[in-house]
Symmetry: C2
């Protein structure tokens, strides 16, 4: 890895790619971010929950540690980004409530609360009435749940706008051509070949193309797959009840649904998501997906029936095999992966940018990022480039 800044190509201008580009440009790299449609992929479609705790799952403690590290970085990351960009980065520091409807849903949340408490997390179990006192938008079918003040959200579209402005101000270039292939001389990267055939020379390349990352270098082959999510954007109409002030996550007869309010209007007042489907690079919004989201969200937040449905879209989460992202060196010298973030892309933006910046300086990644080393899936390579050289 170069220890003095040179030419860097970042493949992918989503939230991760732009954050990496900004960090590298500030450290002296000459950065080109390549993306045929900057800021339009999963980052644009996302809900923007920053939910290390309420996304926690027993057995995924490495992911929880990584998420907690990143959520702690978010306030300073957002403040600095807002200042650099001259535009608000969209962090919404109200927390999250988790709502259960049926008895099975309540039992599941009680189990989650016990698990989180055992890990020392700040979680409070509440009755339906107590939840409605916090969030009057919750309907009578909500029988109980949790308050998780530590899981905030970000308006992903304000974030993308701020990142793009900051990247421009930092002097990085955005090239609206896709990276088709990483070029190397057998030992280290030499650049990238763009759609149309142009080769951009580079001393380092960061793969941040989300669900499209696996095709860019053989070392990521089969490690990142598209996981489709459908998501709706709702706008409050005159006469309709106000949206909740916190993120509302719910289990409705076992199906998860969430509603993330936007503090600043103009980008949709409430984001409702998200379905999960593994069907390749399919971004159709289906009748069944919209029907499920509306039905489940209305059971939890009945006032949204009067809202306008302003957008229905589908994005492709970059899924990894073990739900941990792929952040770290991969393949030839000078190549870094920053992908595979699954449903946690927005959450992990600050820690990913910090980790890649450290790697580009020749330093170690922050401790919780070690578990995300892409070489964990390639034991032979890990033997050659394993823990010892991080």
């Amino acid at each position: 890895m170069s220890t003095s800044p040179g030419r860097l190509v970042v493949a992918g201008a989503g939230a991760v790619g732009l954050s990496v580009a900004r960090a590298a440009a500030r450290e002296g790299w000459t950065v080109t971010v390549c993306d045929p449609a900057p800021g339009s992929g999963a980052s644009w479609v996302a809900g923007g929950m920053l939910a290390p705790v309420t996304e926690a799952w027993p057995g995924e403690e490495d992911l929880l540690a990584l998420g907690l590290d990143s959520v702690a970085r978010w306030p300073e990351f957002a403040a600095r980004l807002s200042a650099d960009a001259g535009a608000d980065a969209g962090l919404h520091e109200q927390g999250t409530v988790v709502a259960a409807t049926g008895s099975g849903d309540r039992a599941e949340l009680t189990a989650l609360a016990g698990y989180l408490t055992s890990l020392g997390r700040d979680v409070e179990q509440l009755t339906g009435r107590e939840l409605r006192r916090l969030e009057p938008a919750l309907g009578p079918e909500v029988r109980g749940g949790l308050s998780v003040p530590g899981d905030p959200s970000v308006d992903n579209r304000r974030l993308l706008a701020a990142l793009r402005a900051a990247v421009d101000r930092a002097g990085a270039t955005v090239d609206e051509r896709a990276v088709e292939q990483v070029c190397d001389d057998g030992a280290r990267v030499t650049g990238v070949r763009l759609a149309g055939g142009t080769v951009l020379a580079a001393d380092a390349v960061v793969l941040a193309a989300g669900a499209y990352s696996s095709a860019l270098h053989p070392s990521l082959d089969g490690l990142v797959r598209p996981v489709k999510g459908e998501i709706l954007r709702l706008t409050r109409r005159a006469g309709a009840l106000p949206p909740p002030s916190r993120t509302v996550r719910a289990l409705v007869d076992g199906r998860p649904v969430y509603a993330v309010p936007r503090a600043v209007p103009g980008y949709g007042d409430l984001v409702v998501g998200a379905t999960t489907a593994e069907n390749g690079f399919d971004t159709d919004v289906t009748v069944g997906g919209v029907r499920d989201l509306l039905r489940d969200a209305e059971r939890v937040l009945p006032g949204i029936g009067e809202y306008a449905l302003t957008e229905a879209a589908a994005g492709l989460r970059p899924g990894s095999r073990d739900n941990l992202p792929l952040i770290g060196r991969t393949g030839p010298e000078g190549l870094v992966a920053a992908t595979g973030h699954g449903r946690n892309g927005m959450l992990l933006v600050p820690v990913t940018a910090a980790a890649v910046a450290a790697l580009l300086r020749g330093e170690d990644v922050p401790e919780p990022v070690r578990a995300a080393d892409p070489r964990r899936f390639t034991p032979a390579a890990a033997g050659a480039h394993g823990k010892g050289d991080r």
Copy 2:
């Protein structure tokens, strides 16, 4: 009314306005069609059912007679338009099935069948099994219904494209400015004032601005109001069941829903509509509207859960006080109304164009159009310009 063709302004470039413009241009008028967004209003959003029979309602025999007159004109109208435009006008001559789910819905359809039979219409009552033999896309909740072969449909977007091409070929001009006011000298029209202040001189003016018509001349004041309808467009995905081949109308627990298949792909395979709301010039698509349409349509056509939801839109039907349109002379000499078509705009396009062309020639309207005389709401004016002068 002029009996020799002169300068004609048509306010509104929806299906009615374009059809009138085409007919007049072919008869020698120098036609300007004014619309700030041609072909984008209710005509664009419409489902395209041509349903005089299945829209029939006891007590609305004048409307049924008008619809039957117009549906009989449709095949020749479409054939001539297709030839003139060099593009298919989108007529889909498969008929309609009407499906009932609950026992109340079945009783209502039995009553409708009796009414239609008493009028001599071609209607066949069928069991659920018989309906599914006609249309295998119908689900098991359909318990019975009607086959109405005489109610076809039109792909409204192909129709608009063909009309626009035919209008251009006929030498009419489309001006993308809105008509703000009809100008007259106290006795007859002299032209129109456009947005921005330009005055277009004219010997005759046709008001075909749909729900926006009432504001254009005091003689229509309060006679046309917007009736919002939300409507969805679905596209079959790989692996999903085929759509029905006929229009499917259904009553689901008393709520009407319809699904109109498109014979030619590329404009959405199935159009599902429509809600009804009276809320002024509001074109928001609401959560409640989409939820109702999807729920009811899926109960009748369960395979559509796998379809893509490609569009959700709302249009404003031009509602009249008695559900009959307003077709005929109104206000000063030279002014003709062609509006107030409610949910029957597409159906009534051919008869409306024929009636307005007759008026512009100084002739009488076709017999069933007499009941649509706008002066029926202004008895004093009817005394001065009543039945005698048609």
